[in-house]
Symmetry: D2
Subunit: 243 residues, 4 copies
Amino acid sequence: MAENIRVTVWNEFRHEQTDEAVKKVYPKGIHAALADHLNAQTGLQAGTATLDEPEHGLTQEVLEKTDVLSWWGHTAHGDVSDEVVRRVQKQVLSGMGLICLHSAHFSKIFRAMMGTNCSLRWREANEKERLWNIEPGHPIAAGIGEYFELPHVEMYGERFDIPTPDKVVFMSWFPGGEVFRSGCCWERGHGRIFYFRPGHETQPIFYDENVLRVITNAVRWSAPRVRMSTDDAPNVEPLEPLA
Amino acid sequence: MAENIRVTVWNEFRHEQTDEAVKKVYPKGIHAALADHLNAQTGLQAGTATLDEPEHGLTQEVLEKTDVLSWWGHTAHGDVSDEVVRRVQKQVLSGMGLICLHSAHFSKIFRAMMGTNCSLRWREANEKERLWNIEPGHPIAAGIGEYFELPHVEMYGERFDIPTPDKVVFMSWFPGGEVFRSGCCWERGHGRIFYFRPGHETQPIFYDENVLRVITNAVRWSAPRVRMSTDDAPNVEPLEPLA
Amino acid sequence: MAENIRVTVWNEFRHEQTDEAVKKVYPKGIHAALADHLNAQTGLQAGTATLDEPEHGLTQEVLEKTDVLSWWGHTAHGDVSDEVVRRVQKQVLSGMGLICLHSAHFSKIFRAMMGTNCSLRWREANEKERLWNIEPGHPIAAGIGEYFELPHVEMYGERFDIPTPDKVVFMSWFPGGEVFRSGCCWERGHGRIFYFRPGHETQPIFYDENVLRVITNAVRWSAPRVRMSTDDAPNVEPLEPLA
Amino acid sequence: MAENIRVTVWNEFRHEQTDEAVKKVYPKGIHAALADHLNAQTGLQAGTATLDEPEHGLTQEVLEKTDVLSWWGHTAHGDVSDEVVRRVQKQVLSGMGLICLHSAHFSKIFRAMMGTNCSLRWREANEKERLWNIEPGHPIAAGIGEYFELPHVEMYGERFDIPTPDKVVFMSWFPGGEVFRSGCCWERGHGRIFYFRPGHETQPIFYDENVLRVITNAVRWSAPRVRMSTDDAPNVEPLEPLA
């Protein structure tokens, strides 16, 4: 019997405590909303961690028991310690999955994994988003039709400053005239990384059926295939006799 | 008339001053050997910068006048300041070319651009290396035949912990039984990055005709196509009327 | 002094002769409009070839003197002989550039180079298209701003059945709600291939300043870096003594 | 309970009937050796098809019941009908997996999927091969160590004329001085393709434990994620009101 995939849902968890509009949509925090959903899925078990816990809740011990880490940050990227970022990066290179949601495009961990600035253009106008599924065979798109829509979102538009993704699974259309690579896959070290555009603190995006399906699929897709450090640079003996 | 490509050849420049074996091969330093060669090429002009200069010789002003930065580091990667690394990274994302040579696989700047650990296996046994040219149409391989050989090298073997390159131009064969992706291309932001395996401080690798040809080609290939910051994340107005 | 890049502009050249609406926009044919523009550019010289010429105007001799072949086909893809397609494919693999325009997505040569079906969704409603420039550093985007618009086009929407491109230079937005990978780059053998979405027989797309700029850039980008057959599979002697 | 993955092992099956050396190693044919192994694996069921059966054993009905097709051809690539090749290609684009073994690099189906010539250099000298595992996290490398060796093989060396693979899982070293991309992954349409270098008609390669493990892994990896035609190019209505 296969073991559960252990997810740690990380959340900055600041504006849910200070902003009534956010609190109203996510009373227990975005992390709780996501973890509740994931815990209801077969084969997944989710815990949470937040910025203001010691070591942001991401001790070495926690990370070693985490198969997939999902990340939401928005207003306090700079408060995340560089040491924790390095620790998370090392785990991703060692095989842990990483899912970065919406405003996490500007998180330290996403930028460290990408090597780029991850900038984009944006607008808050509660406009619609249509996400085209351009890789229907990709596991992250399982159960998603030709496209799906979100009625009210913050817009993110290109150019998105990322390395060319291995696969772009979703491409977004916005009524204001922009497009965006909204579901992007990379592999780094032995780990898999998925960036997913939807999500907002004042919109119930993380209750949307399709959004939750994609995140759930992404958890399964990014679960470790292997767990192995990439730290060693061994001095090795020749395998063949040298002249 | 096209302007010259301005190269800054960066060198740690430590073992040339302390180690007689190195000093004998590169009496003025690896940087001087490379810059001398590049300055003899049509359309190129090369300056140098070294670790122990103020700000490692890589002030904002120097970087803004640099089209392509080549990097050699070996024993003192940790002495490079994080601030200078961030400054260089920002310039690469803005369009400056970056060429990382041999032991620069473990430099802070290469790891920051890659997002991976860049580990590999290695051996110093003065064995031969044969570099197969698997992309003869690539500008970096211009003038190189089906393969070229270096008689005495330090071996680097796979697995090399890098993101899958956009193009692998050279693949190396070693008599001790290893293989290696020896000439690798990436694009990050608006900049181009080339990693080239050959090079050693106690071997005259940087006087080899083919090695110099590849480095010269890589300078031309990685010269900026555009010079434009990726820092901005503008809040934009819709281009189409919103309902 | 560099030699000119020799372009052959291929056109089906059927509906210009039978359809008044097309003839009115392209009285001498789409090929003539494109060739006239290219011949006015520094360093380029363009000839033409059409379906109803012997061997479709694409004899071995013509192809060997062609650096870049651009292709327009629409209603008569099936009339192109398989032998000529194989001949063109071989030249692309040997280093000749190939630019496929708009409805050439369904041409035999594009499908042969891609290995996929190259299907897409489409609509003729004379709607607007906005092409976002997501690779401003790419030579094909030189001189193009953040986006450009075409007032009246035939819409092409995803999913476009193509291999993941090496680079997507342009992504299109359509008011009807679709998105499209509109400028796509691949390398096959020693040759470079560019697919460009804009173009229509009853709209003056091929007189648009930005469209012509992109096509001109694509000609320069896809010009041969090397001209070398990939046919040989030589039986070779070992380079090292075998035990 | 998950259904079995249905494999069809295709074999030219000519030299096993005419050449005593081949018959001795594979008395029932290479296809039978592979199918026997696959049928002994949990969750797999394998049938066979050969060149001299009607329609080469690859009727539409057979293909529709095939999840993964493995292909061995060597001396009679030209005897495979173009119609069957098109039929197989369409099934791959619709989601069926395809595994091409050794000399199938020159098969019509592999070349049609790649769009390239797939040439390489080769030598029959019964030399050793060491396959380095450069993607230990990839499902196809599951259970394989840092490298594995085959004592007596036909050598294939670069340049291998293929589109840059999505992933190179194995890179080979040969004592005669060559290297090779020996395990290569692509996606085309909704289907997955794996090329695996090892295999020879007069060597017991297809009884080797590691080779069989890789092929078994590749079957699981390339099993359809979705089964859906890419044929349609629908004329669609706008999803948003046009002005």
